[in-house]
Amino acid sequence: MADNNVLLRVDNLVKHFPIMRGLLQKQVGAVRAVDGVSFELKRGETLGLVGESGCGKSTTGRAVLQLYRPTSGNVHFDGTDLTVIKGEELRAMRRKMQMIFQDPYASLNPRMTVGEIIREPLIVHKVATEAEADERVRQLLELVKLNPSFSTRYPHEFSGGQRQRIGIARALALQPSFIVCDEPISALDVSIQAQVVNLLEELQNEFNLTYLFIAHDLSVVRHISDRVAVMYLGVIVELSTRDELYEHPLHPYSQALLSAVPIPDPVIEKTRQRIILTGDVPSPANPPSGCRFRTRCPIAEAKCAESRPEFREIKPGHFVACFFADRYL
């Protein structure tokens, strides 16, 4: 599938965090945070990655960027397998891939001015002289709709939404083609969230950016994504185009997830049938055999415990990992 338009291809990505125990600190197990994830991202596309906390979506984002080196699997970015390169080569690739973090406050160095924060990647990667960097900082601040004169201020002088804009400006400094947005709006107030979402959309249109948009808020993901992947306990259970997934979810987990999202409309809410899942997400250190979701699945059968359902393309562009997905077709 040598599609020139594919910017990122993730093949069977695995990231395990070892658990050490005992006298000699032997590895007795692993937190299987990401356990075989595959997807593709086309240029200019936004892939939404949704799931509940602990499902491995953030780890996936970081493993894609090689912030965590994956346990196994490949990440092809722009034709280069990131998992085999290192050092200067990897550093060069990193310029094209950036990340926006959830907590805009924690991710900004409180002792640096906004200008210093934004220009830092320019200087580190030696892509601009001091004078050029100053000009670039001004441009970037304008781009994220902040007053360029703010560059001499410190992060604590800004509100949450403004800080997230600073984070975005920093991510854009090196003119990346790909940005991992890791829960970029979940720490923000409702009225501010929309500002940031709109900004991200505008920037994407202007620079043909490709986003991996990680969030637990399904509404936002539906709004911003072209395609959406649903993760559960380290694996993608369903992946499809946005409207297809939201309107015809085929995996029982996707269905439950979608039905749980409250809709700000009392009329719909009162008549809507909810699927209430029982229990909690099992520990990723000891996931259930077979289908990961079977312990909470309303339609699970014996075979679900025996083997892992294949992640198959049940309809063109609609992938699902469930034995019984055909029932909902």
Partner: protein, 329 residues
């Protein structure tokens, strides 16, 4: 309305901070009927939590101070009670559930111990009686093996389970009123659905009134009978639930609903964001607190703070502008 369970009038609360006095609540009045469920919606810092904590005398003082107002509960003013008197009410007639189940339970005391406390204090049970009752309460909120889990510590429970514990604790003495302060904000969406489902069930079983504080207009849509929207320490809109979502009248409420992407909306239109940031409240506003962010703001909005006025049956709004026409009301 003589049959009000809780009648709050003219409540004002301030906080002393190093940067100045924060006017957190600026004359809030609302009533609650027996068995009624009231949603209180607003962004962080709008005064919704402070209002409820003020009513219960749980504002840390100093720096907080309830400056004015009355809060009659069953005809007695909570704000004029001695600390011994209000302790008789707290936990007994008014139960409270807080936002973060991770931090709201004492980490070094067993669940049993924490559950038994209100039973012993308010119902005069012996330790053994309290323990049995505590097990029943845990079972009531759907915790399996309730009896065995009494000797567990909070960290041994998942977030959702802890919030169930909190709810069982708040309901231990069968209160007439449950105040839930963002009880599901910190939880995953499927767990949020479990909790709202649980509270709905308990409401129908126990018949208590509920004040449900949230920033998510979606959560209360299918749940509350009436919703008040707060902004800058004021109530800016107060309406029965259907009316509010169908006919939002205050520009802030409109903005809030518009900035909320809907999971059931297929369209990809730009979200209507509210520009600017919420006010800091270092000065008690003499004008409409929303004026700086309001696209309909008129001269009068900058001069006088609009009072809550009835615009439709069971629907009151504090705004000088009729948004539909863009002219003064």
């Amino acid at each position: 309305m003589p049959d009000l369970l809780l009648d709050v009038k003219g409540l004002e609360t301030t906080f002393k901070t190093p940067d100045g006095i924060v006017h957190a609540v600026n004359g809030v009045s609302f009533g609650l009927k027996e068995g009624e469920t009231l949603g209180v919606v607003g962004e962080s810092g709008c005064g919704k939590s402070v209002t409820m904590l003020s009513v219960l005398g749980l504002i840390p003082s100093p720096p907080g101070k309830v400056k004015e107002g009355t809060a009659h509960f069953f005809g007695r003013d909570l704000l004029k009670m001695t600390s011994a008197e209000i302790r008789q009410i707290r936990g007994a007639q008014i139960g409270m559930v807080f936002q973060d189940p991770m931090t709201s339970l004492n980490p070094v005391l067993t669940i049993g111990r924490q559950l038994e406390e209100p039973l012993v204090v308010h119902l005069g049970m012996t330790r053994a009686q309290a323990r049995n009752r505590a097990a029943e309460l845990l079972a009531m909120v759907g915790i399996p093996n309730a009896k065995d889990r009494l000797s567990d510590y909070p960290h041994q429970f998942s977030g959702g389970m802890r919030q169930r514990v909190m709810i069982s604790m708040a309901l231990a003495c069968s209160p007439q009123l449950l105040i839930a302060d963002e009880p599901t904000t910190a939880l995953d969406v499927t767990i949020q659905a479990q909790i709202t489902d649980l509270v709905k069930r308990l409401r129908s079983e126990l018949g208590m009134a509920i004040i449900w504080i949230t920033h998510d207009l979606g959560v209360v849509a299918g749940f509350a009978q009436r919703v008040i929207v707060m902004y800058g320490g004021f109530i800016i809109e107060d309406s029965i639930v259907n009316e509010l979502y169908v006919n939002p009248t205050h520009p802030y409420t409109i903005g809030l609903l518009g900035s909320l992407p809907r999971v059931d909306a297929s369209g990809h239109e730009t979200l209507t964001s509210i520009e600017g940031s919420p006010p800091l409240l270092y000065e008690k506003p003499t004008h409409c607190p929303f004026a700086p962010r309001c696209k309909w703001a008129m001269e009068r909005c900058w001069k006088e703070n609009p009072p809550l006025e009835t615009v439709a049956p069971d629907h009151r709004v504090a705004c000088w502008v009729d948004v539909k026409t863009g002219r003064a009301r």
